[in-house]
Symmetry: C2
Subunit: 264 residues, 2 copies
């Protein structure tokens, strides 16, 4: 939707599951709407292919599209993990087809075409992971696309991407799920939880409303870094608990809260 707004002359083909097609057609931003099996017809005319589905289906779709891609086609994705996807892209895509991993750092707990918003990416980071041998022209093609969506492209190694996002995205998600789980255990005794939840709890657990299907592939393809970062979180929690216990938390708190305020 954001793309059509900026590049009205470009033809957008939107391939999705049968039962999503009516809704996508109605949203009006696609010039062609079809099922994945139509990719045989559409891909050979495509300059850029964007795989925009949950992580595990990105990996399936790489298999599905690989035979139909012509030389010099640029393929990118919007998956939330990068290492496994890029490993897979390297192994299945024909040489002469250029894959650049992508991850727009935007979105919400909502999904589907109904959540579409042409300003979704404005001023948000969009991480790009080229291979070391990706031609600069292919990278520029994707950077231009990202720029047209008003996002800010950032280039980074896929390993580093997955570690950083384990900390800033996947671990928070796990913590939110664990906190609502813990509150549910208390809930059996305290109906007060239903009415008295404050803004802090709601903010902190908003992402716990996300569907598991959106997260399954992320967790499957980034389990190692997530576990490692959960360990780091637990070390920090132990430091905080110890200081809480000894009444000595003010210095750490001041440093942390100042840092958080600087994030906006």
């Amino acid at each position: 939707m954001a793309l059509k707004r900026k590049r009205p002359q470009c033809s957008i083909s939107c391939l999705d599951l049968e039962h999503h097609l009516a809704e996508i057609a109605q949203a009006g931003f696609a010039d062609y709407v079809g099922t994945l099996s139509d990719s045989i017809l559409r891909l050979k005319d495509s300059d850029i292919v964007i795989l925009a589905s949950p992580v595990e289906t990105i990996i399936e779709h790489l298999n599905a599209i690989a035979p139909h891609l012509l030389e010099n086609t640029v393929v990118t994705d919007v998956g939330s993990t990068k290492k496994e996807i890029m490993k897979h892209a390297r192994s299945v895509l024909p040489s002469g087809v250029f894959f650049i991993g992508g991850h727009p750092v935007a979105g919400s707990e909502k999904s589907g075409v109904r959540a579409a918003d042409s300003m979704l990416f404005k001023d948000r980071a969009w991480v790009l992971c080229p291979f070391s041998d990706t031609p600069p022209g292919a990278l520029l093609t994707v950077m231009d696309l990202v720029g047209d969506l008003m996002a800010v492209p950032l280039t980074i190694e896929p390993d580093e991407h997955d570690r950083v996002f384990a900390m800033i995205s996947h671990v928070p998600q796990i913590l939110a799920i664990a906190l609502v789980h813990a509150a549910l255990q208390e809930d059996v005794e305290h109906s007060l939880l239903n009415v008295a939840v404050g803004r802090g709890f709601l903010d902190l657990t908003r992402i716990a409303a996300s569907e598991f299907d959106i997260w399954k592939g992320v967790l499957d393809t980034n389990r190692g870094p997530i576990m490692a970062m959960l360990d780091k979180f637990e070390s920090s929690l132990n430091v905080v608990k110890q200081k809480l216990h000894s009444g000595d938390l003010s210095e750490l708190w001041a440093k942390v809260s100042a840092r958080r305020r600087s994030m906006g």
Copy 2:
């Protein structure tokens, strides 16, 4: 500010620290602005005294005001913990003065008169903790006040209050601090954290921007329940980690996310 809007005929005296007085007077909702030492003059004319400061100063102020209160005065507070405050109120207030613990479940990471908002309490819960021997009339006086602020009064035991709020407010606060602390450790290596933090991380850690001074008294007066609820959180985190490890998280996730969605 919310009170003046609803009860324009009532005279509001606002007693605060010397250096806050100019700002409070400028905000225009108080009929009288003075320092705490003026309480000797103002309290004997007061029907309702509201102690609205961080928890540890509420306890100090109870000591300070106790000698000046006349019989039948109703005293309430807005502190985030209740058991210690109520124990203290019982021990220092003269008999015939009625204390009802209060806790409005609203607010933000901002504090001070600059954050004042006449709609702050609208449709939010306001927990009230009467003693078992509090006269119904005194409780009704505070319930009316809460109603005039457009909040929803809820009556609960102070012990239960402190346990529930440990889970839904104090533990989330500790987790947010620990998560930003953990991210800061990573930050040394990854400047990407500065630009790529997504909405999930920002939502989850928003409360980590709170000043320690606001929280010090909460942590000091509710350490036991907070530690107990942190243990429960860690049990839940371990359950989630185990299921993450064994690829068996979907059922727990579905249950938790459905519950979270129902909270709005």
